[in-house]
Symmetry: C2
Subunit: 116 residues, 2 copies
């Protein structure tokens, strides 16, 4: 059978059962990463890394996306030269029902309170 590889480069993701709450919380405890996740949730679709306008260098951006991926918060796949990022909403909702929405709501409330 022909190989089902979509892209030649694959990225390691934790399986749903391997996702740890502590790692998710740690990933979201960084302002830059929380911002990324909020933006992903707002768009509701996959976004390439370059679509984010973060006040850090590309190296640092790569680092943050890797932390989010290894924590199981986002899924990353290569599509051409772009690296698409999507929230693992189904996995997170399956493991921790209501948590992601509560977190996003909390972040939105704080943003509204403190000022974007």
């Amino acid at each position: 059978m022909t190989s089902p590889v979509v892209s030649s480069r694959d990225l390691p993701h934790p399986a749903r059962e391997e996702i740890r709450l502590e790692s998710v919380l740690h990933a979201l405890s960084d302002p830059m990463r929380l911002r990324i996740v909020r933006e992903l949730a707002a768009v509701g679709d996959e976004l390439s890394c370059s679509r984010f306008d973060l006040p850090v260098t590309k190296s640092t951006t790569t680092h943050h996306f890797r932390v989010l991926r290894e924590a199981g918060v986002i899924r990353q796949i290569y599509r051409g030269t772009a690296k698409m990022n999507g929230l693992r909403r189904d996995d997170l909702d399956g493991l921790f029902p209501g948590l992601l929405d509560a977190l996003l709501d909390a972040a939105a409330r704080q943003a509204a309170r403190v000022g974007v």
Copy 2:
């Protein structure tokens, strides 16, 4: 009027409006501190530090309680030689409705899944 000081030693707590989501998530991203908060929520009352049987020294325990207090997750007051710890549920619920319950539920689910 006579001074309303209950105990001679007072501890610094962030006001409700000063509590930051990132700090709360960071505080709860440590297994030891998540365990403390889960126990506090389960009991539903104040507990002295010594009521917790944690696999770390007393110095480290003190450190974890301080992180939780400075993040605004718990409130600590001295009562005699004991230092009582209580969840700041009203403040957290006021700032981030549903978040604490979602977090506690998520922690309980993971504990049930992985094994206490």
